[in-house]
Symmetry: C2
Subunit: 322 residues, 2 copies
Amino acid sequence: MAQVTLLDSRSDVKVLDCTIRDGGLINSHLFDDEVVRGVYHACVEGGVDYMEVGYKGDKKIFARNKFGDWKFSDEDSIRRIVGDNPTDLKLSVMADAEKTDYRTDILPREQSVIDLIRVATYIHQIPTAINMIKDAKDKGYEVCVNLMAISIVKDKELLEALEIFSQSEAETIVIVDSFGTLMGEHIRDLAKKYLKAARATGKEVGFHGHNNLQLGFSNTLEAMFAGVTRLDATIFGMGRGAGNCPLELLISFIKNPKYQLRPILKCIEDHFLKLRTEMEWGYMIPYLVTAHLNRHPSAAIEWLDSPERDQFVKFYDKLNEA
Amino acid sequence: MAQVTLLDSRSDVKVLDCTIRDGGLINSHLFDDEVVRGVYHACVEGGVDYMEVGYKGDKKIFARNKFGDWKFSDEDSIRRIVGDNPTDLKLSVMADAEKTDYRTDILPREQSVIDLIRVATYIHQIPTAINMIKDAKDKGYEVCVNLMAISIVKDKELLEALEIFSQSEAETIVIVDSFGTLMGEHIRDLAKKYLKAARATGKEVGFHGHNNLQLGFSNTLEAMFAGVTRLDATIFGMGRGAGNCPLELLISFIKNPKYQLRPILKCIEDHFLKLRTEMEWGYMIPYLVTAHLNRHPSAAIEWLDSPERDQFVKFYDKLNEA
């Protein structure tokens, strides 16, 4: 690989916006169409490569009336926003292992406006994930696999998982920092392992960061400099808990002229300042505490929903005792 | 230098809290004593090495009644908070070149509770700064020099400045990211240059980051891994504009057992949640815009004080035209 400099345009890098998908975890996927349309147009005008609109949740598991459309991302819902998507922006959905009725709910590619299926899996669900990857590939989609919660996966198991993914039909394997605990050192180390496995069979590696330690953006850059070429980000950093790598920071950094900052700023101005008053995300002390102790941020999310939310020391003591 | 790992306790690293000093730039240095005392006790109990209480502003330049005590940091003001400071925490003040009547206002060390004088200078003020460094050293203080706005200083001039500082009486030379524009690549490069000059005459190098690009914490770690041993941070990241590297993140990362997270969390809970409703700091879109265009964040601070504060695209267009 050639030396990468700050002025390199990185034409090998592709950016995936997952604002509505990850942000949907805060508000049960209940977005006004106007907001989803705003994000779609910002992505198109900003030169973003992929937009992930939501999950393919199994309606036998998740009650249709308890969630917004983007928990299910039905074809009709997506087309209501994008029509036939006559643009260069590709569309993506996330399919969770064991929570997606993939055989039924993922249509043959030619009947769908979706381009990419991202299969998300915990390590113990890998056999199911492999079936889902094959199903999506057979139906004609681009396929990506996201292995979650890797900060509590043992090295040996991770290497086994990567070997399995490298033999799968997925074109991309994504490093996912579910707990928001990864730091630069970890990213460099993980990128090396993922790239070794992925390149052996001609695949790409992606990165999905979180901002629990205010490292969402820096870790994404670290991954890019280490050779990772598929980068996740969200507008204004919106996402569950501490949120994600902000799209506006990422595309203002990447020098590829196809990326335009202005439409993203417009979208923040038009929609996200208001959303920020209705939904909560971003760095908060409880997220530092869970990340510091390598716990899932769900404990922090619960605490922040309780009347004790501002009692940081009590939360710290409680987790330290547990 | 030995290989540094994530589990190294980094006993060579010292942390300087500059919450009240840098935060004072937001509120004209008007803090209640209770807050300053809260920060002082948090630093003592948290094992922080230095606390910077404020500036040594020249009363002939700055009207005494227009600013709070921490613009001037008179001996009486400091002793009101810390008494004779019978603790391991050292105290620091910042003395701006050309804005400090240093001959008069900096007392001989034996008459003062201050331990460290940090001389802040722009590149064109270096001759004055050198006089101030000598004056402080002659009076018996530890001395540090902070060269500001280096993202617009040419390489050749920077090397000349470092050569001058390396021959000065200052024990520490601080890399200061005034514009909040520096990224990991820059930090590694600057650390190499500063360390080369500093080590030649037995000095240490420090780092003072800002959070305009959400890189305050990651840049501080980057500096530490590159060999920088004096690190600035502020509680809850409070500081002018986008704020600074959060102290709670930094000491939760450094493994040295002398640092304690709990007292810092207590201080945030007791004082900073309330302060955050009275004062504004942290990552906001206009800071991304100024950093992206390598401008001083003052343009963003002004914009955020105007009725147009949320019109990000207008601000972006305006700076792009200028």
